[in-house]
Symmetry: D2
Subunit: 338 residues, 4 copies
């Protein structure tokens, strides 16, 4: 952290600032220039509330050098995290595809889709039971009954399951769930992050908020990790911008950036990012080529009658074709060509 | 709602679509053009999940005509809502100012600030007890103890209090709270919205999410209202854009837009919107001039040592000066000059 | 400017960097910390291309302290610039309103509107002759003939005129024009900026680009000023964000920010910012309250038949009502109440 | 186009609207609902200024069905355009890579880089002679002398050249240039678009503006095409959003969208989009996987001493490695696997 001192600052107040910093175990390093005095801060500033510093009269501004997250920071954990799944793993060269319907609608539906996506090569079954919907009048998911149906599909196919948790009071229903998803709208529901982090060590799939910076995403991972659960999988799912050609703007460039900033695996959700079934395949291949550690894709046996997000759901047939392309790309990765 | 039929659509499938619409109590009105067939839908489409329609093969697209919110919609409630406060009211010509520190730090602090803001003309005391912070390492608020201190300040000064609720399990601590705030990061925590709406009829101050559209804001109000509580106060607090000159981009133009779309009162938060104390006054005056029904302003007796948001807190002296300007503007409004 | 040196940097390369800096008349000031070495740069870095520095192997990053603009910078010109208009002035307490149609359509039209806006209190007549339109199929303005009509209206009413220049080859037609507008889409047409800056000392009304930062706006002002013309008037006209409730997001908060960064006058264009006539008045009053030095408003005698931008044009009657409110606010400013 | 009539509209005014539409060769189709009357407009509305309609008292709003561009519209030109290059082609299955320095600095430099990128497989040499720079104090390019050096490099290597035109008066210097680039900042410099479109039939590389929608990009292509030059190549180069992790947000998802909307080839510029050399390769591979028709990449022999954009320039060695990956991906495309 670098502190810019206001021109003409009272030397006594500057001295008070230095004392304050030392009391926080930070060694200040003062450079006096003719127009500007600058204080370099050496030491662990992660726990320091920099707003405090910025609010002081003598301070013109603060420039951050190190990122404020620790547990998620690649600097302190140079090797990529490999997060074990019931079958396989994700991160550090391991690639996983999660697929299934936006929401669980019936036992027959979820079992049918589970079989289809397994046959096409998916590693995990996704399916929503508790659904965050913009409108109170939209279908809100089957809840506990949906979770039960997911369990049946898991037994039938052997596929582990991932589904979204919206409130900590529901977590006891999640015993059979293998990966717990925190949705984009809850990425900064800090209570939920702390609670889920201290309750379980199961992998947490943390979706980036629609307008969250990478630093905010990593700080939310930090909430989970500092509460006791290191198994966080990050997921880019599109951001909100001025452009409305797609439902969201697919921010694929952040995949290599997140890999530099953090050791955590990074997945991509091409279904929510684009909002249109015909764009899922091209975005999924691009995400694979850019180095994502996994994909989460919506697949529905009958998109036209899906209870939600039908527009963006692939059919099992299209999903199988997409998987062929993904596999061809992953072969290039495994051969170190890509 | 208008449905655009794909060129060359199979007439049987179009007939199926018409049957589907009629089954939902919607009267379809077909216009056949040489390039495009269009179906106008007359009836209450609020409860219809339009994704269903959009996913059909024969449908090229859907265009919405009416807004999907009902309870919050000015169309069905032409007069502005006036929400009673313990002392005064907000909306429909009634103006209120809420002021106080970002977070409650001590009994002495909150009583001192309460007295100062009351003397300057504030109608409600604000103060955070549960604080949503981006970093798990930042000060998270005093919790229940903070609420107790707010109650003491309320008793001392007679000012009603507004403070943020982050999780429904805490609500029993809020008995003495007069207005319950739902923060920007929880604007789409739909469970919390439903729970707070069914638990209480106290006014809810609903802050707009950092990247929420007006429609999303009104749908979140709709969650609260359709759960049983009609007393929602909307609050614009800045949106996230490419511009970083201010902490957020103050979107003042939405005040008159919200007044056309909805009958609910609209407040403005110049402290969070700008992020800098010296910008609070100019933005507060602009918000008053544009017709906001109220303001919520951060005031701290010692901003340089505030535990959070010191940079954007006014001192009691500056706040008093701002209030003088606000009052001069409100006089122009009351005289029908502005 | 502060340079962050990469951990484990080769000391020889660091020495080369210091030599490079000194060769550019910059005195480097090195602070060695245990994790990070930091070089503070004292001297005029305005002319230094910092990309050069950032590209060096030993450099981790560069943090800017001082703004890169000089002529427009308030730091070197503490008093606000007052730009003289043929009648009155703008900036430093002087307020001006420019009004008129989006485009000049006929002699009768422009004279009629000129008389109406003058009667209501406008100081300058606006009217487009060369129109930048998104579509090649839209009306592109009357060109030279439109300029001639503006001159007639000027003679008839005595109002000075402001109109947009799109290409330097047209400037000889602008002899009778008093203020030359550079449109938002040309804000970074650097050739045009240099050419207009060296050709004339008439006031230049420089509109902020739809997604330009304040720094980019001021750098564009710098192009004009460093070419020889110091008379630049900045104009905020709305930015592009995710929100589509208004045509653009009115970024009023930048008015006080620009006044701190620069000594140049700052106008606001509520017509283009909002895109709807009924929002022009509330935004115009808010802009006045927040301290803008002037307004530019579209007024049309018959908005329904305007050749462009009819939706956002006020009628002369509405404009007169708006002017009454603006004057009431400016009285508060003049009495030091606002 | 669909026109929504205001509830309670005066039937006479509605009749006037219908007459107006018919006078523009549009057949109106009226659907009367109990809450809303809707007019479907059949006919060519491309040349109609819809603002005119929207401004009428009886009109509540207008919904567009067809896109306003014609020449660039895939609807009227179902096959992809193949644009011939001196060696090879771009579009419709033909892929091209353009590479070279941000700006031409010396004959030796440009010849050396040209040889290196040709050896690695580039099809076209890029290099800036006229440079649009945010700051008037930054290096502005070598101008005519830079163009001369590009010609020498072309003679030496046989590579065709692409370079940016900033003002029409310079075009006589572009005789030896094979592809003319219109930069992002000039995407809505409509005079330049019209002039270049009527002056030459050489391929025009049109870069998307930093905050331009796809429709605006295609309307700018329409300016060039309707002026006489059908050979437009579109180029996505990153958009401006709230996210600052990369210089711009790489909007790769628009590649398949543009291919659906238009028959024109779509290139991607990973250098400007990301702003960092180490991100160029991953983004370039993702762009190839998603179906871009070409890439334009900055390569510099000595990035640390480049006169501009050194931070984002690949070295010739890195570029060669990237080309190997691109070729492996293009083989999958050619074999119909990808």
């Amino acid at each position: 952290m670098i502190i810019l001192v206001r021109p003409n600052a009272d030397p006594k107040q500057v001295e008070n600032l230095l004392t304050l910093l030392r009391s926080k175990n930070i060694s200040p390093n003062v450079s006096v220039g003719c127009h500007q005095t600058v204080i370099g801060c050496v030491g662990d500033v992660t726990h320091l509330d920099t707003n405090l510093i910025e609010a002081l009269d003598v301070v013109e501004g603060v420039r951050h050098i190190q990122e404020p997250y620790k547990a998620a920071n690649r600097l302190f954990h140079p090797d990529p995290s490999v997060i074990a799944l019931p079958d396989g793993a994700i991160g550090g060269g391991h690639f996983a595809v999660m697929a299934g319907p936006c929401s669980v609608e019936s036992e027959e539906q979820i079992i049918g889709i589970a079989r289809a996506v397994k046959a096409a090569g998916a590693n995990v079954l996704r399916g929503g039971a508790f659904k965050p919907r913009t409108s109170p009048y939209s279908f809100q998911g089957l809840g506990a009954e949906g979770l039960r149906m997911l369990s049946v599909a898991k037994k039938e196919t052997g596929l582990p399951i991932v589904t979204e948790l919206m409130e900590i009071k529901d977590i006891e229903l999640f015993n059979d769930v293998d990966i717990i998803q925190i949705g984009a709208r809850n990425m900064q529901n800090f209570n939920l992050l702390k609670e889920v982090g201290s309750y379980t060590k199961k992998p947490i799939l943390l979706k980036r908020g629609m307008s969250s910076t990478l630093q905010e995403l990593l700080m939310s991972a930090e909430y989970i990790m500092s509460s006791g659960n290191p198994n966080v999988i990050l997921c880019e799912r599109g951001i909100r911008t001025f452009e409305t050609a797609l439902r969201n703007t697919m921010d694929l460039g952040v995949v290599p950036v997140l890999h530099r900033l953090s050791h955590l695996p990074v997945m991509v959700d091409p279904s929510h990012a684009t909002g249109y079934a015909h764009l899922v395949e091209p975005v999924a291949t691009a995400a694979t080529a850019i180095g994502a550690d996994g994909l989460i894709i919506e697949v529905h046996n009958d998109p036209a009658h899906a209870k939600c997000d039908g527009v963006q759901s692939q059919t099992p047939e299209t999903f199988a074709r997409t998987m062929t392309k993904i596999k061809a790309l992953r072969e290039l990765v495994d051969k170190k060509i890509l």
